[in-house]
């Protein structure tokens, strides 16, 4: 292999445009972080390429599938639509930071138990949309869950076991 080529582990622009990069500071999964990125980069790109957090997936890149969903200040957003600059000073939670270091989040546990995970490509996004729902509505009905997850496509499960998992997690979290 040619040894003169620099490593391109993180695909980025050629070196000359580094000067145009934007410095952003935000809280990522509970820890303050910094990054220097081009302004046109999306949060999804920042997470996957700058921080090696590949849990958020790209299913469409244009806000149509929900596979890239993360929490921005506790609200579910499509990370592929959020420009990096918008994240400065805010809080981001990805699927890697949803549970604690020891235990999985109840949503994760119930997704596993209820068989709501098949291929798993939609799972991280689904979990974060569900987490945002439970934050504003700790006791959602089936209909409210279905509405809240309507932006997250899943082609495998037919959604039934996902809805069940969210209900079970809500019940557990409310101590019911």
């Amino acid at each position: 292999m040619p040894s003169s080529v620099p490593s391109s582990r993180r695909p980025g622009p050629p070196a000359e445009s580094v000067a145009e990069r934007l410095a952003i500071r935000f809280v990522l999964n509970g820890k303050p972080v910094e990054a220097r990125v081009e302004p046109r980069r999306t949060l999804l790109w920042v997470l996957r390429e700058e921080f090696d957090l590949v849990g958020a997936k790209e299913g469409c890149g244009v806000g149509e599938c929900g596979a890239c969903t993360v929490l921005l200040d506790g609200e579910a957003v499509n990370a592929c639509l959020v420009l990096a600059g918008k994240v400065d000073g805010r809080t981001v939670t990805t699927v890697e930071g949803l549970g604690g270091p020891e235990a999985l989040h109840p949503l994760q546990q119930w997704f596993i138990r209820k068989h709501a995970v098949q291929c798993g490509y939609c799972t991280p996004g689904m979990l974060l949309s569900a987490a945002a729902l439970l934050r504003r509505n700790p006791d959602p009905t089936r209909e409210e869950i279905r509405e809240a997850l309507a932006g997250n496509l899943c082609r495998c499960t037919g959604y039934v076991q996902i809805v069940e998992a969210v209900r079970a997690a809500a019940r557990e979290m409310a101590g019911r």
Binding site: V5, P11, V54, K57, C65, V117, Q118, G120, C156, T157
Partner: protein, 767 residues
């Protein structure tokens, strides 16, 4: 019925990959990053049909950061999943056959540079007429899309089959009904776009990581197209984000990544955009079906005639196989004595159609279940009665020679009718609300490989080791459906160990022994049998040592809960499984055994006779309840009931997931999904905003039921559950719409506009 006292099989254990996926730890192809890895992008044709006159890549090659550019001429060897009919190239070679076909590809240090380089590639075309409709493509004076095709005009393949005396049976029928049905152009819309990472090492060996359903066929095709021996190629399947058939043949991103990696001398990743997923396509064939059914006075089917024109798109793919599946699917799950099939698959200038969940079955099923529904109503019978009367018995042989060794289809119909209250509802609900019943079946694997070969279709090796534990090696590929779990559960049951102690290594052509791939709902029966046989052989070895230790015959030994014991003196003569393993290895060395599966080979003396045979078959019956808003034309599926015969469910929760996923996918095709194509062959909605798939908000109340069933010749009595359940969904919903508003839709998707138009027509006809 065999004794069913299982400890692992039949329980809803949790999948071992689920925690990894729920934590974002599971790696898919696009998550893989290698040192010095390049990123590839594809230059695509902006014409629908043309000869390529010239491609100039020099400017792209000169762009700093570009490491390699490839064009079709560098890989002029055609390939195809049906090896006798290779029609396709890694990149368009001499000709472009659909709008968006790859004509060149670039590998560069980052995606932006690769993208920029695409604009610097110049391609000159000589345009040819574009055919987006099979009728135009079949016109005698149409320009051939594939010059070498031996059939007239743009017919890719055509065939006829006839069984019994069809004309006489129709003449003697009490009632004959004929209708024309049109099915839609739909995409799998799996969530993970195609992605592959290819790398050549200093020894010239290629390793490719790709989210494929068919590592074995990818292995063969890479060897052919790259002209290198198979031993030098290693296919590794990371986690796969859904396939549904769409990753069931080689995708050009895999070949392009490998070609670029070889040329650049560096690893290359090629991940497709969503639009490119629609261009790679391989979705369900739109078919125009003319179907005619004749019945006697009591509703027994006398004869069936089918004429189907399949829109195949630009290339061969699975096409000829699917053509013959549409023929095979006419013979079940009802007893039909006289059958005529005429079918053809036509090339058009569109992305290629191929295998999609339940391939070959969904379209004829739609026609047949709709016609039977109408015939019953016309005769004043219940559709339940006509379907029950004609349903096959527990075993059945079709006039085409297909043998069904085990069916609980009748039980499925009875159960779903009971659970849904169908008889109390059908024709009795208020206008705008209705119920529809439909049934279906699917194969659990095939009888033949695509290239003729006598080797087993599945093999598995089980290694039991005092340090590494139990590892099952099998080439079967988990594409998200949970096959690793199924195989692990079977091994756990056989070896009397807890499920979480079994490791499964799959989807790897170097590490795991041969398996054909994840398609045709074959894995549970085929790979399952191989795993069970390997486990039996391992046990035989362990028992030989345990018998000496315990002082009894090896044949008396059994294993459960981690202990080996004599079935006659279970309390006196027993020892730990791992103790016996240790003794075996001390005395004999490594403890390894392999198993295999070769399906029964049945065939007949007519064209396509190899197709349709399967070791065993799954069955399902379904009832949909819909609500039609007569103001807006909107249709809502409110309730849905299913009763399925998948044999013994290995993991009931997993079966439910397969069934629910099938129902919702079928509902999408019935009501929303349709890839639209402009006259020049351009796709009009290659995105998930305009191509609507069902969301959680569209979800009906679904109630599934697994009927009591056990196929004694299958591993643990199991049969398929991943493709049968999609078969009746479309007709169940459309039959329900008929019940709701009295309009028989013969075309999908049934959009609100079509509903309003039909209601309007009905109103004006009445007044």
């Amino acid at each position: 019925m065999a004794e069913k006292t299982f400890r692992v099989v039949g329980t809803s254990v949790t999948r071992k990959d689920a925690p990894l996926k729920a934590r974002g730890e599971a790696l898919y192809a696009d998550d893989i990053r290698l040192p010095l890895m390049l990123h590839a992008r594809v230059k695509r044709a902006d014409v629908g049909h043309a000869r390529i006159l010239r491609i100039d890549t020099s400017k792209a090659e000169a762009l700093p950061g570009v490491k390699a550019v490839v064009v079709g001429e560098e890989a002029p060897i055609p390939y195809g999943i049906v090896p006798q009919m290779p029609t396709e190239y890694a990149l368009a070679y001499k000709k472009v056959r659909y709008h968006g076909e790859p004509v060149a590809a670039v590998a560069a240090v980052d995606p932006d540079t690769a993208e920029k380089a695409l604009d610097l590639i110049e391609v000159e075309y000589e345009p040819l007429p574009v055919y987006t409709d099979p009728k135009e493509a079949m016109a005698p004076d149409a320009v051939k899309i594939h010059e070498e095709s031996p059939f007239p005009a743009n017919i890719a393949y055509q065939a006829e089959q006839e069984f019994g005396d069809v004309d006489r049976a129709f003449a003697e029928s009490h009632y004959v009904l004929e209708k024309t049905f049109r099915t839609s152009y739909v995409n799998h819309a799996f969530l993970e776009p195609h992605s592959a990472v290819a790398k050549f090492d200093t020894n010239g060996e290629l390793t490719i990581w790709s989210g494929t359903q068919v590592p074995h066929y990818l292995h063969r095709t890479l060897s052919k197209v790259l002209e290198m021996p198979m031993q030098k190629i290693h296919v590794k399947v990371p986690k796969v984000g859904g396939g549904f058939g769409g990753k069931g043949e080689v995708s050009n991103n895999e070949l392009i990544a490998a070609l670029l990696a070889r040329k650049a001398g560096r690893p290359v990743k090629l991940t497709y955009s969503r639009k490119e997923v629609f261009l790679q396509h391989r979705g369900r064939h739109p078919i125009e079906i003319r179907m005619k059914i004749g019945v006697d006075r009591d509703g027994y089917i006398q004869a069936l005639e089918y004429d189907g024109t399949m829109d195949g798109g630009a290339y061969g793919g699975w096409g000829v196989v699917i053509l013959f599946y549409t023929a095979a699917m006419l013979h079940l799950p009802y007893k039909v004595k006289n059958v005529r099939f005429r079918g053809r698959r036509v090339y058009t200038n569109k992305p290629t159609c191929g295998a999609m969940r339940g391939l070959g079955g969904v379209q004829p099923r739609f026609a047949m279940e709709s016609l039977l529904d109408q015939i019953a109503i016309d005769l004043g019978m219940s559709p339940y009665e006509i379907k029950k009367k004609n349903a096959i018995d527990q075993t059945h042989e079709t006039v085409s020679g297909v043998y069904v060794r085990h069916s609980e289809y009748k039980q499925c119909i009875d159960k779903v009718v009971e659970n849904s209250g169908y008889l109390e509802k059908h024709r009795k609900l208020p206008f705008g609300r209705g119920v529809g019943l439909a049934g279906g079946y699917y194969i659990s694997g095939t009888a033949y490989t695509l290239y003729m070969s006598y080797k087993p279709h599945s093999t598995a090796t089980v290694r039991v080791d005092t340090e590494a534990g139990v590892t099952v090696y099998c080439g079967a590929t988990d594409i998200g459906q949970g096959s690793d779990m199924v195989l692990g559960m079977m091994a756990a049951e056989k070896l009397g160990l807890p499920f979480d102690q079994i490791h499964v290594v799959s989807g790897d052509t170097t590490l795991a022994p041969f398996d054909l791939g994840s398609f045709a709902s074959r894995v549970t029966v085929a790979a399952g049998t191989a795993v069970c046989q390997a486990c039996d052989r391992v046990l035989e070895k362990i028992f030989s040592v345990a018998a000496v230790q315990l002082g009894c015959r090896a044949q008396q030994l059994a294993v459960a809960d981690g202990e080996i014991y004599s079935v006659f003196e279970p309390h006196k003569k027993r020892m730990g499984f791992w103790e016996a393993v240790e003794r075996y290895i001390d005395a004999n060395g490594p403890l390894v055994a392999s198993g295999e599966f070769t399906p029964p080979r049945r065939t007949g003396k007519f064209k396509g006779a190899n197709i349709g045979h399967s070791p065993t078959y799954g069955f399902t019956a379904q009832v949909a309840e819909v609500e039609v808003d007569t103001e807006t034309g909107e249709i809502r599926v409110v309730n849905y009931w299913e009763a399925g015969d998948c044999g013994q469910a290995i993991n009931p929760q997993s079966v439910e997931g397969q069934v629910e996923g099938s129902i919702v996918m079928g509902m999408g095709q019935a009501l929303f999904e349709q890839v639209r194509v402009a006259e020049d062959g351009r796709l009009l909605n290659p995105n998930l905003h305009d191509y609507k798939v069902p969301t959680a908000a569209d979800l009906p109340q679904i109630r599934t039921h697994i009927v009591d069933s056990y196929d004694p010749d299958s591993p643990f009595g199991a049969k398929e559950s991943g493709e049968g359940p999609i078969q009746p969904v479309i007709p169940a919903i459309l039959n329900a719409i008929y019940d709701a508003i009295g309009v028989r839709f013969t075309e999908m998707p049934v959009t609100p506009e079509k509903v309003l138009e039909a209601l309007e027509r009905r109103k004006s006809e009445r007044s």
